[in-house]
């Protein structure tokens, strides 16, 4: 058992013990092993180094290794937790875990926020949303007048500003009771073109369809999709 693991680690840098990965995620040990089969095929598709690079990721996602897409780029960056420019098996399992149907909404909301916060400032800015919107329209060959785009962006801001309006009301009525909120608002009022994580959470709670991309039902059936994992199983007797 120990020998197998170290042999695999040499071929697959960053490979972690499936039992440990299973204990840290919503996957069972068998599911982690099935994921390893998937990982092996993706990570060897361009360079056989046991790691997934950007081209291999693009190839797996789009069947086209040269296709660039700002969302896929951002997702790749989020998978690459150690910022090495490549995704190892541990990164792969931990990131896919967020998409598991049984994982908490909290984790999904958080991941989605980081996905849309393209430059990682901790805020989703209006111009980031505009950039993403334009990228989507371009990709789908859809065209919209600029005013329509601005109207769509305004609507997003209106949804988020509602929180501030509530605070504003409180501040106006009882400034003595909420002095810290007073400060918060002053800081925030200049920047109502940004969405922070709490505004995002509120927004998502009112629009739950926003999280649908954060769940992959396929992850529940992963052992039937990649049954060959039993031939390479590192683990002897495991309760499934």
């Amino acid at each position: 058992m120990g020998c197998f693991h170290s042999k695999v680690t040499r071929q697959y840098p960053g490979h972690e013990d499936p039992i440990i990965l299973a204990s840290q995620t919503a996957f069972s040990v068998s599911e982690v092993e099935a994921l390893f089969e998937l990982f092996k095929s993706i990570s060897s598709s361009v360079i056989d180094d046991g790691l997934i690079n950007k081209e291999e990721f693009q190839l797996a996602l789009f069947k086209n290794r040269k296709k660039e897409n700002i969302f896929a780029n951002r997702i790749f960056d989020l998978f690459d937790a150690k910022k090495k420019g490549v995704i190892d098996f541990g990164d792969f399992v931990r990131a896919l875990n967020v998409f598991h149907p049984n994982v908490s909404q909290e984790e999904k909301i958080d991941f989605a926020f980081r996905l849309y916060d393209m430059d990682g400032t901790g805020f989703i800015e209006r111009n980031e949303v505009k950039q993403m919107l334009i990228a989507l329209l371009c990709e789908s060959e859809m065209k919209l007048a600029d005013e329509t785009i601005e109207a769509i962006l305004d609507k997003v801001r209106a949804c988020c500003v509602r929180i501030e309006e509530r605070f504003l009301f409180i501040r106006h009525r009882s400034p003595k009771l909420y002095p810290s909120m007073h400060t918060f608002l002053d800081a925030d009022m200049n920047q109502d073109e940004k969405i922070d994580i709490s505004e995002w959470k509120n927004f998502v709670s009112r629009n739950p369809s926003l999280l649908k991309i954060m769940t992959l039902p396929y992850l529940r059936d992963i052992t039937t999709t990649f049954p060959s994992f039993i031939f390479h199983s590192e683990v002897d007797e495991v309760a499934t």
Partner: protein, 202 residues
């Protein structure tokens, strides 16, 4: 352990199973695909035939049950999430079946889009309408497992986004039917923003 048993075809029957049932199960769990029971043989098996009633099965419309919020307008993030880059199911794609999604904007009313689709499908002959609703239509191809699901979401007062999802076991007939025939026949429904854009100085 379970997977090892599956692979080796090792199993034990509970005491209450009849001889016919045991024979049937053994033929189902045959690890050799050449000798394993086929669908036709299943239909003829004595245990299976006993009390069997034929049921017409609807093809799955892949997790796209009609949502009650079909009147709610899409917001910026809904739109953004249509990007293929946001859809990780591509990682699992060519294993079981092929799915493809595309969308276009239309200035037509949903009922008109659905009616036109129905008309074009009727002309095609080999594609059938399985179901319709106020905001969508489901189609099935008679020669393959191709299912096409069209859903219409309001975007602005005048505009809607039409989302077309296709699913089947291989891409060829899907491309031929959608890209080759149905999509071009509906191309006049696609919104052309050029005629609406005011000239601006930038």
């Amino acid at each position: 352990m379970l997977y090892r048993n599956i692979y080796r075809g090792e199993f034990k029957f509970p005491k209450w199973t009849s001889l016919e049932l045991r024979r049937f199960i053994s033929r189902l769990l045959d690890t050799n695909p050449e000798t394993r029971i086929t669908i036709d043989e299943i239909m003829k098996d004595p245990w299976f035939k006993n009390g069997y009633k034929e049921v017409k099965v609807q093809p799955l419309d892949f997790e796209m049950i009609e949502e009650p919020q079909s009147n709610v307008r899409l917001n910026a993030f809904d739109l953004i999430s249509f990007s293929s880059g946001c859809d990780l199911s591509g990682l699992f794609n060519d294993v079981d079946f092929f799915t493809q999604r595309e969308q276009f904007i239309s200035a037509e009313k949903p009922w008109k889009i659905i009616e036109r689709t129905r008309d074009e499908v009727d002309k095609m002959g080999n594609v059938k309408v399985i179901s319709t609703s106020e905001s969508g239509i489901r189609l099935e191809h008679q020669g393959s497992n191709l299912v096409i699901a069209i859903d219409i979401h309001p975007l602005t007062e005048k505009l809607v986004v039409v989302v077309v999802n296709r699913r089947e076991l291989n891409a060829e007939s899907s491309d031929e039917i959608w890209i080759g025939k149905l999509k071009p026949s509906l191309s006049d429904l696609v919104y052309n923003s050029e005629s609406d854009i005011a000239v601006d100085s930038e």
